[in-house]
Symmetry: C2
Subunit: 510 residues, 2 copies
């Protein structure tokens, strides 16, 4: 795990030590001072130092050398990785992909129905998908297989009540890859700015750093369930424009990562209004659209179409608003993040710009085809009345309610913890509580060259084996401290580990 | 298929026309003149205008409206997409992935052995891989699953006779994704240069264009079976350095794409020598390492280790030579390009630089896990004596000899064609013949604003349905014309279509 430099806190793998303490002079082409400075600047804490240390603890326990550790298992609450934390894949989905991987099994329908619980609609779906992609081992069109894009368009139409066009849908290797393509085209110069919510999933700041463009931060309203504060966005925009930054787009993550919020309709309308007035592209990261525990999910696409239809649009001001909305197979009840699948729909974009996006994605050839097929099963799951429906429904509802109850258990625990306050879990897979640490703890952290939140998370990991991410990895208001934790880990025993650690920690530094 | 702009030759999809001829004024944030200029500059002809037109012909035929066309099928000889062209996936590989997709099938061993030809080693492999990745739907380590990286290291050791370290192996979503990560770190400024062979697979020039870095072209020696010409590389390097370009790396594609060449050991040694003297990173694109029809494949890694062991290395000049070698599941007899899997091994890199590469790849989370598993089956296929070996061997050899005979048939056809000369097929999946066109044809092309090779390829597509790529898409010496064709399409009927078209074309412009 090679993230630590020679002065880093982590032990280096042996092959690195050898090189570092080699007696030959530095004669390489590349060193830390002459590589791409924008890669150096980019930060991505979700898989940073803590994650690496937790992997080391995990290996230590797995190899039977964990006897000295004060815990017997590592809980990876740092990343939204459902199936690593025992969430079972949806049966219909994986039955279909097993047939796609080995189409010879299509000839064994009878025996698979009898022995392995396959239903007839599994075979139908696999045959339809194979007709579209020919083989999951063949490149598809760079934009994604046309039949799958049609299924996505049909899904959007059912969800929003407005038609969607398969030509404006691009399949991608997870939403991250879609964001990467869109940002690459948008970011024209070091002077290009993109409005990004704070706190945010660090993909956005990392991508802007890599592209040497400007992140224009706007703060979410923690007190109001992490909602958007239009006044705040507008003043962030004006300030940036005053500094000569050419702000082109606004990112919205709904439901929120890391916040766990879920935006009401009026917040979405407000952002669309502002984007239309200010000529901003809206990038709507909606990968958690099925992880909604309070109220319901409102898509930006529906919001836009509603506005376009409304009286407010008399002067056509919403007609050319550019919206890219992203969805993914990684989250929700699907949780197939290892398969790297997703899509984005672009509406209102200039076709010449779309052509450049097409060229950009074609350089990487195509998204993983089996991931594309899982996008299809996600947007077109078994319908009521079909043979696979009852089990699908049961599994889906089971995962949903289990996630909701774990979110609730964690939320309740946080409410009982001294100096911790947390918004109620409304959506996504995360909670992002505020922590107020004793001054002595903050001083100790500072002594170690760390932020208070970093120090807290490091101590939590060392003491309990639970890996969470400091708020600084996502951005937080000056003077506040947070952490992000998923609520994916099974059971609730680990929640007890957190509360106990927290009590001890507070005692120690009181 | 949205690649053509409003003045392009292709008909626009309806949703675009509507937008283009909309009466509302341009009020969008993004247009062709204000997006990232480096995306605009990047060229990627392999999936460009001709490919899009061929897809349109294909849809036309599929929808029963192909009656007016002078051909009844489209042959996609423009991309190396084996399974789209009827190459069957290797049975063992896909049996394993079917179990990985649906681990419930592990409980049906007896019935799958009896009814579907699964052997016991298929189940063993699937169990081992699942132990490593837990679920193919879970994110792995960003560098790739550790057990799979160990298999890659073992493979490299068997291939080269020198050990490899799993920590220096990074799995990736196809070699393209690996090249992208490496180039992102290497390219530090608009002044960074990378030596790229001409002709080349356009991923390299496209990536350098996107990163706003300099491509420093060096010409391959067509007359000498597309070998490397060290003198030529050195003078390209000196010329670039004279212009103040900071040349950091040299790309070598072996076996060659688009050339179909295969480098002898001395060419590889020569490049390593030069790279050591000039402190250049060597990027060895070895994705066609099993597609070798003349002589044998020599890896850069073995070449480097041989040199490091040799007397020539007394002063340690090869000790810190930085080499990244790439391999892929997309090519060879595996042909699983739709699964997006590959790896790169980095040796000699500064660990601080490796840490930055790790961070870069972690932003995109991880390569597709099922693709990682196919990397494992590729590097660790059934061994002699194991139950799946006989069928694996038979399929592997069958694909190999069929590719070789198709390459030979195409080569023979080219030899019979007036004005065409071609090097004998030594490796990879392509031939890249020179064509000498009549002056009238070149004049006609010029009249249409096209190069002679583009015009030839366009006419070939319109007349025969065969899609190939003009040499200009890969680069060629001033004043020469080429095209690249794969030899993947089944049968040889289509070869006859080419020779007939060529005769007519030459007659028309004589």
């Amino acid at each position: 795990m090679p993230l630590a430099g020679p002065n880093g806190a982590l032990p280096l793998p042996s092959f690195m030590e050898k090189r570092l303490f080699s007696t030959t002079p530095q004669v390489r082409s590349l060193n830390i001072n002459n590589i791409n400075p924008h890669v150096k600047t980019a930060k991505y804490a979700v898989r940073g130092e803590l994650a690496i240390k937790s992997e080391q603890y995990k290996s230590q326990i797995a190899s039977g050398k964990g006897g000295d550790l004060p815990f017997d298992s590592v809980i990876a609450a740092n990343i939204g990785n459902p199936q690593q934390l025992d969430q079972k894949p949806l049966t219909f989905f994986r039955q279909v992909t097993s047939l796609l991987e080995n189409p010879a099994l299509l000839e064994c329908q009878e025996v698979l129905e009898k022995e392995a619980g396959y239903q007839s609609d599994v075979f139908d779906r696999a045959r339809t998908l194979l007709k579209d992609v020919k083989s999951v081992g063949a490149y598809s069109q760079s934009q994604g297989a046309p039949g799958i894009r049609q299924s996505v368009a049909d899904f959007i139409q059912r969800r929003d009540g407005y038609p969607a066009d398969k030509e404006s849908i691009y399949l991608c290797a997870g939403a991250s890859s879609g964001v990467n393509a869109l940002m690459n085209v948008i970011c024209a110069s070091p002077n290009t700015g993109v409005l990004v919510p704070i706190p945010q999933y660090p993909l956005y700041t990392a991508t802007l750093a890599l592209l040497n463009a400007k992140c224009v931060p706007y703060y979410l309203n923690e007190e109001n369930n992490w909602g958007t504060d239009l006044g705040g966005i507008r003043s962030a925009l004006k300030k940036a424009q005053g500094e000569g930054i050419d702000v082109r787009a606004v990112v919205v993550i709904n439901p929120g990562n890391p916040t766990g919020g879920s935006l009401p309709e009026q917040d979405i309308n407000g952002i669309l209004q502002m984007a239309a007035e200010e000529k901003l592209v809206v990038l709507a990261d909606e990968v958690y659209q099925t992880n909604v525990f309070e109220g319901k999910f409102h898509s930006f696409k529906k919001g836009l179409r509603d506005l376009q239809k409304s009286a407010e649009n008399k002067d056509g001001k919403f007609d050319d608003l550019e919206l890219a909305s992203l969805h993914s197979i990684s989250k929700g009840m699907v949780g197939e993040c290892g398969h790297r699948g997703g899509y984005y729909e672009m509406v209102g974009f200039d076709p010449e710009v779309v052509a450049q996006i097409y060229k950009f994605v074609s350089i990487m050839l195509c998204p993983p085809v089996i991931g594309q097929c899982l996008v299809e099963t996600m947007v077109n799951p078994p319908r009521e009345g079909s043979p696979s429906y009852p089990l699908y429904r049961q599994e889906y509802d089971g995962i949903f309610s289990s996630l909701r109850s774990r979110a609730q258990a964690l939320y309740t625990a946080f409410q009982s913890m001294e100096g911790v306050s947390c918004q109620s879990p409304a959506g996504s897979m995360y909670l992002f509580p505020t922590i107020r640490l004793p001054a002595k703890a903050v001083a100790k952290a500072k002594e170690m060259g760390k932020g208070g939140d970093e120090y807290y998370c490091l101590r939590l990991l060392d003491r309990t084996g639970i890996c969470i991410v400091p708020g600084s990895g996502f951005g937080q208001r000056e003077g506040t401290l947070h952490f992000r934790t998923t609520f994916l880990a099974p059971g609730t025993e680990w929640v007890g580990r957190i509360t106990e650690f927290h009590r001890e920690f507070m005692e120690e530094f009181r």
